[in-house]
Point group: C2
Chain length 129, copies 2
């Protein structure tokens, strides 16, 4: 049983984030010491690890709630997990495509711009009309 600060250090997360995840129901309410300090078990620590890794992989809190919902039923299947993951991968692919398109546009526009110390930049002209 470790305290919040140790858990934060052990998982490389922010101490406030842990309280936040508890508040929004991603983490179970932990045990408490006699004086009210939170005490985390190894299972608590694993669950936080899962949450943090999923967040790093770009899953939203809503998606995480879905995944944890499956995990918490204890009889989730590969198919269910894969559905969430596949959707997420598609979302990411879409974001990548959007950003690429955006970058192409900006590259093209900034190529119009001489980048010299002259006034009336064509980039601004283009955006302002």
């Amino acid at each position: 049983m470790i305290k919040r600060g140790e858990l934060a250090k052990a998982t490389g997360s922010n101490i406030e984030t842990i309280r936040y995840y508890e508040k929004i129901g991603l983490l179970h309410e932990p045990d408490r010491s006699a004086s009210g300090h939170r005490l985390y078990s190894l299972d608590d620590q694993k669950r936080l690890g899962f949450v943090l890794r999923c967040r790093e992989l770009g899953f939203s809190i809503a998606e995480l709630r879905e995944l944890l919902g499956l995990v918490d039923t204890k009889d989730y299947t590969c198919a269910e997990v894969l559905a969430v993951t596949t959707q997420h991968i598609e979302d990411i692919a879409k974001k990548i495509a959007d950003l690429k398109r955006l970058k192409r546009t900006l590259d093209r526009m900034s190529a119009e711009c001489s980048g010299e110390a002259v006034p009336d930049c064509p980039l601004v002209e283009a955006l302002f009309e």
Copy 2:
């Protein structure tokens, strides 16, 4: 001189967004009718257009403030505009790289998962340990 609703329609923006941009100082305070309704000139409309196009191109409000600061001095140079734009392009390139790395990881992980109606998905196992 058009009113806020018409401006929103003309620029394809949300009527509330216009008030928001005014509040945070991206748009100048417009003229008002005798009864207090906002009245926008063609210049106002062009400025909003600039803001909206930059937002579509992924510029943050802070970056926009910088660009508008330049534009408002009336003697901005190509070099100054290009500096902001180039930084932004680099930020986008970084985001693309991050998302691609993320997608590769997820692709790899979900390949481990059979996607069948079997329990104990290896994807969850991997994330939970």
